[in-house]
Symmetry: C4
Subunit: 208 residues, 4 copies
C-alpha cells in the first residue's frame, strides 16, 4: 500500500487516525507516535514529529525520513525519538505501518504483568482481529520490555524480542504503552483497536 | 419496517448506528455485525460485510444476501461470518433487525457468569427498555453460549437456546459479546443500549 | 426564564441537552426524561415524550402538557410516564426545569446506599455547583426512594421526601437514576453535571 | 507567547480547550478555570468568568483582569473566585498560562493520598510530557493542599508550596482537583493531559 498511495493521502489518513485515537484517550499529551512506509529500497517513512499532539497532525505533524531518521525532502524539525523502534519493526517484520499508543490500560497491564515478561491472551473472539488468527483459541503472547531512554539499546532489544517471538503482533514497553503494526495502515489500526480492547478486557477481568 | 423503508434509507441508518456504536467503543477493530430484513418470502437481508470497521460502513460496508448467505444483486465480497446466527434469530424470533456488539462489559460479564449459563438481571428500571417489559421487577435471563468457530454448530445451539428461553431478548457468546434484536432497527438499537447499560451496571455492582 | 424564552428556544435547548447527555452515556436506550415550565397559572410544561431516545429530540421528542399530563395545543403522543414526578418537583420546589438522568454511577450508588436511605456527600469542592452552596464543607443528603411503577404513589412519596428534606437538590430512585432540578434549565443542567460527578467520585472513592 | 498572540486568538484557543476538556469530563458543571497572561508589567490576564460552563466559553466566558482581579477594558461580571491562585502561579513561576481541571481521578487521588501530603509518580514514560523531564525515572512529587474557601489564605499556602517544591509542575487541592501551568497555553494543555493520564494510571494501578 505504501507504494501505491500518495504521500498526501497517507498524511490525511494519519491525521484522521490521530484524531480518532485522541478521542479515545490513547495519545494524551504528546504521547504515541505513528509511521508508515513510503518507499522500500532504500527504506523511507512518513513519521510523526517529536512533541506534537497526535490529535492535531494535519498542519505540520509529519515528516519524511530515511531509516537513519534523517529528514528527506528538506523537512525541518525532529522525528519522534522512538523512530529507531519503528524502523526495527519495519525491517524485521516487513511492516508497512507501525503505531504506538499510550493508553491507561496498556500502561497498567504493562506494569502488572512485567514480572512475567509478557501478557498471554487466549479465549477471546477479539483475537481474530489480529492478522492470520482464525480462532478465539489462539494464544497471543505480548512480550513486555523494560522501558529505556537509550533508543539504540532499546531498538536492539526490540529486534531480539521480535526474533524470539516470531508470531507476536505487538509488544508492550513497561509503563509506557503498546507497539503494534500491520502490512498496511488500516491493518495496523485494526491491531491497535483489537489489542487495546483485549488489554482492557484482561485488565477488568483480573485474569489473563 | 424492513418492507417499507428503502434499502438506501436502511443503509444510512446502519452506517449511523455504526458511527454511534464506534464512538461508544462497542465495535472496536472490525468486531460486531449488523443486519436488517429487507424482504421476507424468501428472506433477504442487508448484512455488514466481513472485516469492515463498523464506524465506516457508508461506502461499501453492507451487502444484500439471502438466508443462505449468498450475495444478491451482484454484490461482491463476503458477508460477516456470523451471518447464520443472524438468520437464525430472524427465523426463530421473526426479528426485523439483529445487532451484535462487542463491548468490554458484555465480554467481561459473558466470562464471569459463564459457569452459571447466563446472567440474571432484575430490579433495574432500565429493564423497561426491553420490548414488552413494563416493570423493573421483571427478571431477564441472558443465556451465555460457549463461543465456537463452527458457525453451523453455533447457529444450531442458538436455535436451541432461543427455543428454550422463549422470552429472552438477547444472548451472550462467551468472551465474544452481545446479540440482541428487534422488530425494527430502532427497537434493536434500543435493546443494545439497554442491555449494554445493564451489563455494565451489573458488572460494577458486583451482583446480578 | 420559562416565561421569557420562546417555546422554540426551549425546545432547541432541550434537544442540545439530550445530545450532550447522550454522548456522556447518561440517557442510554430511551431512559431519562426532561421538562421545563412554559407557564405558571395554570402550570404548563414542555415534556419529553414517552419512549424517545434523548439524543434525538429535535424532530418530535417534546410535547406541551398541563399539570395533569394532558396534551395542550393539539399535541399527539404520550408524555413520559414519569410526568407526575416532574410536576411534583415543579409544584413543591417551584422548579423551572426538571432533569432525570440514568447513568451507571447514579444507578450503582442508588443501590449501594439504599439501606441507608440516601447518600451523604461532603468535603468536595464540586458541591458548590449546587445552587446556594458556598463551601465544600456543605453536607448534601441525596434521599433514595424505592422504585415503583405506580406513578401516583411514587409522586406522593416524592412530595413527602421533598417536604422532609427541604434543602436537598436531588433525589435518587433505587436502581433507576437521578432526579434534579433548577430555577432555570441551565441551572438544572449544572446540577445534573455536578451530581453525576459527585456520585462517580463517591463511587470510586468507596466512601461517602 | 502572551505578548505576541492577539487577545482574540487566545480567546479562541481557550474556548477550544474548554470544549475538549468538557468532552473528556474534566470540567463538568461550572468546575475548572483557565487563565493566560496577556501582559507582564503590570500583569494582565485573560481569565474565565465565575460560574460559566467551560464547554461554552465562546460568547462571554472570558474577561481581562489585573493581578488584583479587577476588570480591565470595561469588562463586566466577576472573574473566577480562584483568580488569586492563578496569579500566584504566574508570579512565583513566571507561568504564561494556568489551567485548573476537576476530573474524577484527580479528585479521587487528591483524597486517597492526602495524608501523605502529595502523590509521588515515577517510572512512567508519560512523565516526559512534563517540561524539562527527559526520563521515565524522574520522580514527580505533586503536593496536595487542603481545600479552603478563603482564597487569600489558600493563595498564600500555594506560594509556600511552590517555594518548597521548586521543581513541581502541579499541585492538587484536596477533593477539588488539579492545578498545572506552562510557559505557554499549549504547554499548559500538555501538562494537563499528561498529569490527568498519570493520575488515572496511578489510581488504577493502586500504587504510586
Amino acid at each position: 500500500m505504501g507504494e501505491t498511495m500518495s504521500r498526501d493521502d497517507l498524511s490525511e489518513q494519519l491525521a484522521d487516525i490521530g484524531r480518532r485515537f485522541d478521542a479515545r484517550n490513547w495519545v494524551l499529551g504528546t504521547s504515541g507516535n505513528f509511521s508508515v512506509v513510503v518507499g522500500r529500497s532504500p527504506l523511507r517513512l512518513l513519521m510523526t514529529r517529536s512533541g506534537i499532539p497526535k490529535g492535531d497532525l494535519a498542519a505540520d505533524g509529519l515528516m519524511e525520513i530515511g531509516a537513519d531518521g534523517a529528514a528527506l525532502q528538506g523537512a525541518s524539525g525532529r522525528p519522534s525519538a522512538e523512530t529507531p523502534l519503528h524502523v526495527e519493526v519495519m525491517q524485521v517484520r516487513g511492516a508497512g505501518a507501525v503505531l504506538h499508543t499510550h493508553s491507561i490500560w496498556s500502561t497498567v497491564l504493562s506494569d502488572r504483568h512485567a514480572s512475567a515478561g509478557g501478557v498471554a491472551i487466549t479465549g477471546f473472539e477479539m483475537l481474530k482481529g489480529l492478522e492470520g488468527v482464525s480462532t478465539h483459541e489462539h494464544r497471543e503472547w505480548i512480550p513486555i520490555l523494560e522501558n529505556d531512554q537509550d533508543m539504540g539499546r532499546l531498538a536492539s532489544r526490540v529486534r531480539d524480542v521480535l526474533g524470539e517471538h516470531t508470531q507476536c503482533h505487538a509488544f508492550l514497553l513497561r509503563r509506557h504503552g503498546l507497539y503494534t503494526w500491520g502490512e498496511t495502515l488500516p491493518q495496523a489500526v485494526r491491531h491497535v483497536e483489537t489489542l487495546e480492547f483485549l488489554l482492557e478486557a484482561v485488565g477488568r477481568t483480573g485474569g489473563s
